[in-house]
């Protein structure tokens, strides 16, 4: 199976500090893949390199078998790469509908139209509203994003990414900061996501990881420690050492 997203010997250093060390990574089509590791392991930097927000020091990135190492963020999005942010990055004062509609319009190539009014673009609005409905946000369409409870804001993050109809979806701690009551909801929506989308999820919450992922990659200090199915990772002594440290009970 050709990987839909792949990195080869990806490295990133900030001066003397190496944050990513020779990372070789493959994301299969339709995957449910989790990236875990202790704080400071370099997970977010890795994702930022995947999306193109940061340039790697060396190494290559491939999306759909095409090299995208030098390609801009926006261009990668056009090729099917979507992401959510660990810290909610929404258009805060805009209504939820607009948050999603902006993404949909970009994807459809309508964002540069200057003549017809935005609200008359039924296709964009309908698609956005359908998307909101699948995430249970239909009633919040007119609410400003910043007025929503945090759990719902995280869902809007996901909605925006979905509006791009990505083939690869990078979710950076989708449940971070969400009260545990809402985590279940988010998880259910994640599980309902189309099996055609390859999903890489960065998470600290092990419950989510073990429930959701079919493959887990463990990143420690910028290097891939081990990669495999959940049972293997759970049983791996090295992983337990890294997470639990010395002197603690398993």
């Amino acid at each position: 199976m050709a990987a839909i997203l792949e990195t080869q010997k990806l490295c990133k250093s900030f001066g003397a500090l190496t944050v990513a060390d020779n990372i070789g990574f493959r994301l299969e089509p339709g995957a449910r893949h989790a990236l875990i590791g202790p704080n400071g392991a370099g997970k977010t930097t890795f994702v930022n390199m995947l999306t193109g927000a940061i340039a790697p020091t060396s190494g290559k990135i491939f999306l759909n078998d095409q090299e995208v190492t030098q390609t801009s963020q926006a261009a990668r999005v056009k090729r099917g790469l979507g992401r959510t942010f660990q810290i909610t990055t929404l258009f805060r004062s805009l209504p939820v509908l607009d948050n999603v509609a902006l993404a949909v319009a970009e994807r459809r190539g309508d964002a540069q139209r200057m003549w017809r009014s935005a609200s008359s673009h039924r296709e964009i609005i309908d698609e956005s509203q359908d998307l909101l409905a699948t995430l249970g946000l239909a009633d919040d369409a007119a609410t400003a994003a910043q007025d929503l409870p945090y759990g719902k804001q995280r869902l809007v993050e996901i909605a925006i990414a979905l509006g791009l109809k990505p083939r690869v979806l990078l979710l950076d701690e989708p449940a971070a900061g969400v009260p545990s009551a809402d985590t279940e909801r988010i998880l259910q929506h994640l599980e309902k996501l189309s099996s055609e989308i390859a999903i890489l999820i960065i998470e600290h919450d092990m419950d989510i990881v073990f429930r959701f992922a079919q493959v887990i990659t463990v990143l420690v200090q910028g290097q891939v420690l081990v990669e495999g199915p959940p049972e293997a990772i759970a049983a791996d002594k090295r992983v337990r050492d890294v997470y639990l440290g010395e002197g603690e009970h398993a």
Partner: protein, 328 residues
């Protein structure tokens, strides 16, 4: 005001400025030259609002386009003998657009202070050039002897300023239509998104840089046309169309009216220029003082300008939400 949830139909209140303008034409014939000046600066303010209020680009150099347009219209007449008004406008628009796209492409890769600096440097350069190239621009004395043929061969620029007023009114109307359309379109929604959260715009695949260059160029063209109108109505261009001062002035006017609100660009220049006409004549030393204090007060207490204050006290002026969005 922009976005997918907003009703784009023109509300009756939006016809008020035009009614007032026409009323002024008939009822205040002595003030038509001031009126034309106001109309020109409204157009200028609209162009600035496009990039400042919607795309969030802070610039102190917008006078570069205004001044370039003004001088182009003048020079086309004095050097090339072309006096047809629409041709002069077209030339000014083209020159301003060219400057806009070239400088925009260069400077819009930077942000914040660097960007501000660069915009200032550009208008400063143009001012220097205009100052020194006396053979072309008349230098410090200004460019006089600009001739403008009657519009469409029939409407002469009379000394009461009637033709000038209506000419500028027509230009402003067209400019307003264009800007309004743009703001309510998906492009306008995108601009708001750009201003709100640039990081997110990148992450949804928007080629941010090119969009900024595009809107910057459009804005520059409008400013250039406004400048040309000024030359045509006065048949003269002076150095005061370039440099920091007019940039600062138009910024003040826009802030006064309210940024990002479309009609702030209408209210601001009216208030500013009328006040300047009455007060500055009487108390010239206090004019800058008053404007400075006003600016500080607005920034500290009334960030949204006059429109912002009206919003607080008169809720009916808020834009309607599209009925369709909530109908589902």
């Amino acid at each position: 005001m922009s976005g997918y949830s907003v009703d784009p139909r023109i509300r009756w209140t939006e016809w008020l400025p035009w009614i007032i303008a026409l009323a002024a034409f008939f009822l205040l014939p002595e003030y038509l030259s001031l009126g034309a000046r106001i109309l020109i600066f409204i157009l200028f303010a609209l162009s600035l609002d496009l990039i400042l209020g919607y795309a969030g680009i802070i610039t102190l150099g917008h006078s570069a386009f205004f001044g370039l347009g003004a001088y182009t219209a003048g020079i086309v007449s004095t050097q090339l003998g072309i006096n047809e008004p629409f041709t002069q406008l077209a030339a000014a628009a083209a020159a301003a657009a060219l400057l806009g796209v070239v400088t925009g492409a260069i400077i819009l890769r930077t942000r914040a202070l660097t960007l501000l600096m660069l915009t200032l440097a550009i208008t400063a350069i143009l001012l220097e050039v205009a100052n020194k190239a006396t053979w072309l621009t008349g230098g410090a004395d200004g460019l006089s002897g600009v001739r403008v043929d009657p519009i469409l061969g029939a409407f002469r620029f009379d000394m009461y300023g009637k033709t000038a007023f209506l000419y500028c009114l027509a230009a402003l109307f067209i400019g307003w239509l264009v800007v309004r359309r743009m703001i309510y379109s998906p492009f306008g929604a995108m601009l708001t998104g750009l201003r709100e959260n640039t990081t997110r715009m990148h992450a949804i695949g928007a080629p941010v840089y090119w969009r900024l260059v595009l809107v910057y160029t459009i804005s520059a063209t409008m400013a250039g046309i406004a400048g040309a109108l000024l030359t045509q109505t006065n048949q003269f261009v002076g150095l005061n169309v370039l440099g920091l001062e007019p940039s600062g002035d138009i910024l003040v006017m826009l802030i006064l009216g309210g940024v990002g609100r479309l009609y702030g660009a209408f209210i601001g220049p009216v208030v500013y220029l009328v006040a300047q006409d009455t007060l500055a004549k009487q108390f010239p030393e206090y004019w800058y003082f008053g404007i400075g204090v006003l600016l500080i007060v607005v920034v500290l207490f009334a960030r949204g300008g006059i429109l912002g204050l009206i919003d607080k006290w008169l809720p009916f002026s808020k834009p309607r939400s599209s009925a369709r969005a909530s109908a589902r």
